[in-house]
């Protein structure tokens, strides 16, 4: 269900000669991820800060007025002046100079840490994710051990064994933190390992190395960049923490050593503590922000801002007041149409676009369904057939707008003329009770965490207000009604324990459980095998006759239409092409589009003959349409 909604909503090309051709024919503009980072104010600030810090560190030798360890004993703990612009520390060393040299060492060692972690984690993750098997099992053990080690204690041990070198500490920390890369890479690789394009590359004879570098590495590149930004920040923090504890190398200036030094004199000169802490906070903060900006830039292309209607103010106000009026007192439906179970009048459904326009996916569609009648809505993907069905159910996504028309159910408006959204208050009283729904994918519409029985009983208890015991008896009877041989067993089963055809029967049982007047079935047999489809169609026909309900059947299959429907609506690109009794539409279609569709059926065709006669006008236009997308 969501898929069809998304297709209609997100692929403007597929269904859209109506709303103008803005941006649909030309090549799509792809803005690079880097440009998007620059457009993000936080990303830009982070980049500027990091660039500044890196430049200061790189040119420390030039910029620093003193050597990092040059001590002027006569001038300790001095306040800032023209010579020592940030003052001096307890040994009379220049704070500004030490800050610059400290940046050099701190940043380089943090990068070393990240590099070590990547060198270990990335290849191991790629291999474990791609080949799985023994290597993965062993690697997982090693990772488990590494992660269970108490990091700080290990680092202290290493210090006492190898001396107070910040480089050794950071290499060790890189090893300790490499599991984070390993896990990231492995799960990313696992998610694409069985993609068909990787299979296709194998069939093309690509070596594993080529497949990994070409098809798989691109998937992990972005997460690696984000992770590195975070890890570098963590490394700076851990390194400084060690040095703050006095485990650093006192001969080398780093931010952590300065912090430790400043802390000793916190009461005398608090600024000694402030500057290294400020440098750290700035750098780590910028790294985190940069990571976020990279993620944002890579994850979504364009966000569509939720704007209100872009109509002129006066019109807007008029529409608003009309909607308000409609909300308080629902207008009466047009006289003489109350007997229709459902009547859709000039319905238009649209999605607001980034540029403020509204893209219509359903345009000027009118039809009705009477009690005891099966109406088929036929069309190809992007024809708006599912959107039409969902607007009757009131299950359109939040971004959707009813841009025109009205829907009435049993003599009352569910969408009154002038309203721009489905009125959930009115519809929720009907949905599940008087209007029910059979979805396309039976398996994804049953919750795997609950038994089938529970999922049948709960709605009945809620909607019909009957006791649980009564609902259980009813559910068992319903399961028998839909042709399930052993209803008791199915009742207790979890969804994964039944087949797709069985699951669809369960959903049909659920759909009729509250004695609806209207059933909306959205491609109810598309996901099923042909033999199972035939059984489910028999079941729907049988139930429809027995209960006398109205059915709206959304499908792309003319065979299914012929099997079930009384009347047919043909849709294309959001518009209604043709409507009529099933025999008329299938035997003597008037519209060229319907003729083309029926001509595409394989039934009764000469095998191995061309289906689309070359040069026919219908073909030319449809190929043009296909190519224009």
């Amino acid at each position: 269900m969501t898929e069809s909604v998304e297709t209609a909503a997100l692929t403007p090309a597929a269904d859209n000669p109506i709303s103008g051709s803005s941006g649909q024919t030309g090549t799509v503009v792809r803005s690079s991820a880097f440009k998007r980072i620059l457009k993000n104010p936080l990303g830009l600030i982070a980049l500027v800060i990091l660039l500044g810090v890196v430049l200061l560190a790189a040119f420390a030798n030039v910029l620093a007025p003193f050597d990092q360890n040059f001590a002027n004993i006569s001038k300790t703990l001095a306040a800032p002046d023209s010579v020592n612009i940030l003052g001096t520390d307890s040994s009379g060393r220049d704070v500004w100079s030490r800050l610059l040299f400290g940046a050099q060492l701190t940043l380089l060692s943090a990068l070393l840490c990240a590099a070590v972690a990547i060198v270990i984690g990335l290849p191991a993750g790629l291999v474990a994710g791609y080949y799985a098997g023994k290597f993965e099992a062993v690697a997982n053990w090693v990772v488990g051990i590494l992660m269970s080690l108490p990091g700080l204690i290990v680092l202290m041990t290493i210090r006492s064994a190898f001396g107070p070198s910040v480089w050794i500490a950071m290499i060790a920390f890189g090893v300790l933190i490499s599991p984070s890369y390993f896990r990231l890479v492995r799960s990313a690789v696992q998610s694409v390992r069985n993609e068909l394009y990787v299979d296709a590359a194998r069939v093309s004879g690509l070596s594993d190395l080529r497949i990994i570098t070409r098809h798989i590495f691109s998937v992990v590149r972005a997460p690696i960049i984000i992770q590195t930004a975070a890890i570098t920040g963590v490394a700076i923090a851990i390194q400084s923490a060690l040095e703050f504890l006095g485990l650093g190398d006192p001969a080398k200036a780093t931010w952590g050593v300065m912090l430790s030094e400043g802390f000793k004199n916190v009461y005398l000169t608090p600024s000694l503590l402030f500057w290294p802490a400020f440098a750290m906070a700035l750098t780590i903060g910028a790294l985190v922000l940069l990571g976020n900006a990279v993620r944002d830039a890579l994850e979504d292309g364009e966000k569509i801002k939720h704007r209100r209607k872009k109509t002129p103010a006066a019109q807007d106000a008029a529409a608003a007041s009309a909607a308000k009026a409609a909300r308080t007192t629902v207008a009466a439906v047009e006289a003489g149409t109350e007997h229709h179970l459902v009547k859709v009048t000039n319905l238009g459904v649209g999605y607001p676009q980034a540029d403020g326009s509204i893209k219509k996916v359903v345009d000027d569609v009118s039809f009705h369904v009477d009690r005891g009648e099966i109406l088929g809505i036929v069309g190809e993907s992007g024809s708006g057939k599912s959107q039409t069905a969902f607007s009757i159910l009131g299950l359109l996504p939040d971004t959707a707008r009813i841009v025109a028309g009205a829907i009435q159910f049993d003599g009352n408006y569910t969408v009154a003329p002038g309203e721009d959204k489905v009125n959930q208050g009115r519809l929720s009283k009907l949905r599940g009770k008087r209007i029910s729904y059979i979805p396309q994918e039976p398996m994804s519409n049953l919750d795997p965490a609950f038994t089938i029985g529970y999922q049948l009983v709960t709605p009945m208890v809620r909607v019909l207000g009957i006791s649980k015991a009564e609902a259980t008896t009813r559910a068992l009877k319903l399961l028998t009604d839909v042709g399930i041989v052993n209803p008791g067993r199915t009742f207790k089963a979890y969804p994964h324990e039944v087949s797709g055809g069985m699951a669809q029967r369960v959903l049909i049982a659920g759909a009729i459980s509250c004695e609806p007047d209207l059933i909306i079935a959205d491609e109810p047999t598309t996901a099923l095998d042909v033999t199972v489809q035939a059984d489910v169609l028999d079941l729907i026909r049988d139930l429809q006759r027995r209960l006398g309900v109205g059915v709206i059947l959304v499908t792309h299959n003319f065979g299914v239409v012929a099997d079930l429907c009384d009347r047919v609506v043909v849709m294309q690109n959001g518009r209604l092409v043709e409507e009529g009794p099933v025999r008329e539409i299938l035997r003597e279609p008037k519209e060229r589009y319907t003729q083309t569709l029926l001509a595409s059926m394989l039934e009764g065709k000469e095998p191995m003959s061309m289906l689309v006669p070359a040069g026919s006008p219908a073909t030319a236009s449809s190929i043009a349409k296909e190519n224009a997308l």
Partner: protein, 301 residues
């Protein structure tokens, strides 16, 4: 020509079944967990495909038809039996042998949305198999243009990404990739199942046209008997990991012998209410007959 091919293929002359031969093939998948029972996906499969011939493979989901295609391509483990391609045993071909084989054997998958790497441009996707075989960049570029032309895509598609195309067009790209090395056999795994009706018709036309022009053979896997009847010379019907019936397309898809194929044939609805009503009645009669036969045979239905 199509008529004669269909009839010729019925009786497999030695020249015709030379391309691909699968004998007593068994595929087992390891079960989940330690010492779990193996899952037998294919049992004792025997098929053969001649040059320029299409073998249609039809069956329901889980019948093993996709696994058979994958076993031929080396993507599924062969536990027993033999697959020969042009007389060479390829049941356990190494990666190196596969690279040589990929010149002659290619694939088109069902889902045009996941069979193309979303991060690569169409030109890069099509040039990939050419590069593997050592073709130079300029020559590859020429070939890519030719391929796009052959499958009816505009030449400006080279620098576009898969997501800028519709399902039907993506499937054309996938077909172009399969054609890149002028293979002798293309394994088509439900290549039109994800497509709209009118798109499906055009893509089927494309498959037929390509076969006419290049003489390529197809192993055409589909769940749709109508599609298989339309495109195949011979048809094999799979049910629960076995081939239950195999023969000339016209015979198998119109007068099937096996009860499962009979059920399959009558289950597919026809686009006319009255004929469909007739077919429905026939189906119910058939199901009743088969049930009675099963009862008489003492097997619970």
């Amino acid at each position: 020509m199509t008529e004669t091919v269909a009839l010729d293929a019925a009786e497999s002359s030695p020249a015709r079944d030379g391309l691909l031969r699968v004998e007593n093939l068994v595929v087992d998948y390891a079960g989940k967990g330690f010492r779990a029972r193996k899952f037998r996906a294919l049992t004792d499969i025997n098929i053969h495909i001649g040059q320029g011939e299409t073998l249609g493979l039809v069956g329901e989901s889980g019948s093993g038809k996709t696994t058979l295609g994958r076993a031929v391509l080396g993507l599924a483990p062969v536990s027993g039996g033999k697959i020969t391609f042009e007389g060479q045993d390829i049941s356990h071909a190494t990666r190196k042998q596969r690279r040589v084989l990929s010149r002659d054997m290619q694939v088109v998958f069902q889902d045009p949305y996941t069979s193309l790497n979303p991060a690569l441009e169409i030109g890069e996707i099509l040039a990939e198999p050419l590069g593997v075989q050592g073709m130079e960049a300029t020559a590859a570029k020429m070939r890519v243009k030719e391929l796009l032309d052959q499958v009816g895509l505009p030449s400006d598609a080279i620098h576009r990404l898969p997501r800028e195309f519709s399902g039907g067009q993506r499937q054309r790209v996938a077909i172009a990739r399969a054609l890149a090395l002028s293979p002798k056999l293309i394994v088509c795994d439900e290549p039109v199942s994800a497509l709209d009706l009118s798109t499906q018709a055009r893509v089927l036309d494309l498959f037929l046209q390509i076969q006419k022009d290049t003489g390529v053979s197809y192993l055409f896997v589909s769940h749709d008997l109508d599609v298989v009847r339309h495109i195949s010379h011979r048809v094999a019907v799979m049910y629960r990991g076995e081939i239950v019936e195999q023969g000339p397309a016209e015979v198998v898809t119109r007068n099937p012998e096996h009860p499962y194929t009979q059920r399959l044939l009558l289950a597919s609805p026809v686009p006319d209410p009255d004929r469909q009503e007739q077919r429905r009645a026939d189906r119910h009669r058939l199901l009743e007959e088969q049930r009675q036969q099963a009862e008489q045979a003492g097997v619970p239905a």
